[in-house]
């Protein structure tokens, strides 16, 4: 007859959270929930990327006549910078497990800066694209803007999630719930960053 860790331990205190994180053998529910949610998101991106190529197979000119292929430089640099947040979020997740509140706050805010900047750049790039070709003229435009737009939307949502976690961790401290939330947020960004690469390669494929 052994005592279950986490019972007497108060999971709403940082101490309890650290204890839990140490003795857990399975991943917490929140982590699993995020993983499965991300499965669904990855499927969405997969479907859209498949759509891109399916449409490409069907036409002779891709991109259609009159639309110059995408410029490689700016989007690639932007994505490269975004990938840095993979590392900062990893640090945040690790700090969350160890209960290092300051590090978590620092790393999340750092990531938020980069991600916000990336989002801004993306918006700028998209508006410049819109001056070149419209999503209404051809299917190429439709899938191009839908694909990039979907990814930008994920970045935006990620930033909002980051702000929320930042706020709650600042106010509540690293309870078990919010340290799990930090790890889940990190997972989210790993996937969004990976998708950034795939989206980039897809949209640049005509230029490569």
């Amino acid at each position: 007859m052994s005592t279950v860790p986490g019972g007497p331990v108060d999971r709403d205190t940082p101490a309890g959270a650290i204890h839990l994180a140490r003795q857990r053998r399975a991943k917490p529910n929140g982590w699993w929930g995020m993983v499965l949610f991300l499965c669904s998101e990855v499927t969405i991106f997969g479907t859209m990327i498949a759509t891109y190529f399916y449409l490409q197979f069907g036409v002779h000119h891709w991109p259609p006549r009159g639309i110059s292929p995408e410029k490689v430089a700016y989007p690639s640099i932007a994505t490269g910078v975004l990938l840095l947040t993979t590392f900062t979020m990893w640090l945040a997740a690790r700090a969350a497990g160890a209960g290092a509140r300051r590090t978590v706050l620092l790393m999340i805010s750092l990531s938020l800066l980069i991600q916000g900047a990336f989002f801004g750049v993306q918006v700028a790039l998209m508006s410049s694209d819109l001056s070149r070709f419209s999503p209404r003229s051809t299917a190429y435009g439709s899938i191009y803007y839908t694909l990039t737009g979907t990814h930008d939307a994920h970045v935006l949502v990620g930033c909002l999630l980051g702000l929320a976690v930042l706020w709650f961790v600042a106010r509540r401290g690293l309870t078990d719930y919010w340290s799990t939330a930090t790890r889940a947020l990190a997972l989210y960004w790993y996937v969004v960053n990976t998708m950034a690469v795939f989206v980039l390669l897809t949209t640049l494929s005509p230029s490569l």
Binding site: T3, V4, G7, P8
Partner: protein, 175 residues
């Protein structure tokens, strides 16, 4: 809640203080949170989880990839615009199926290995007990191995069917 004289068993305790409600209580949280952990037979044989699961789903995943590749090649090549693939379509299709077949064979070998390590010849009832409900990890391993055997068998069948069937047909003959 009134404490009545009828309850005089030794294990009888009052109601503990609940968070929020200010009721008297003496029950010890530690005792109320105590539980016997799930029964577990110590593992003589416990291969890495990744290996076990490769034995379960390896063939299935291999088929899925070969299948997506074959369909993709077919569409890309046979669409009106006819993307050229450098090699003939059937070559790609055979290659994909062959690669998948290798993986599936490796996977079924894994599950056979695990199955034999965890399977003991016994009386019928004994097999039944092993088959479902034997204590983990042995019971779970044998269960997964049995699953893997069947999955891979079917995966191999289907890989062979597409690997042979697709190249026989006229390239890009519209169905």
């Amino acid at each position: 809640m009134s404490s009545d004289p009828a309850d005089s068993q030794p294990s009888q305790e009052g109601i503990p203080t609940l968070p929020g409600t200010g009721q008297p209580g003496t029950l010890q949280p530690s005792s109320i949170d105590a539980i016997a952990p799930g029964p577990r037979v110590e593992a003589g044989f416990d291969p890495p989880t990744a290996v076990v699961w490769f034995g379960v789903i390896g063939g299935g995943i291999a088929w899925a990839l070969a299948f997506v590749a074959g369909y993709g090649f077919g569409l890309a090549h046979c669409f009106p615009t006819g993307t050229s693939l450098a090699l003939p379509l059937s070559a790609w299709q055979i290659a994909a199926a062959a690669a998948a077949l290798v993986v599936a064979l490796a996977s079924i070998a894994t599950s056979v290995w695990i199955f034999l390590r965890t399977f003991r010849i016994g009386d019928v009832a004994g097999m039944e007990r092993r088959g479902d409900g034997a204590p983990p990890p042995a019971g779970r391993l044998q269960f997964l191995a049995m699953v893997g055997l069947t999955v891979n068998l079917l995966a191999i069948a289907i890989i062979v069917m597409i690997g042979v069937g697709a190249p026989i047909l006229h390239v890009c003959q519209q169905s």
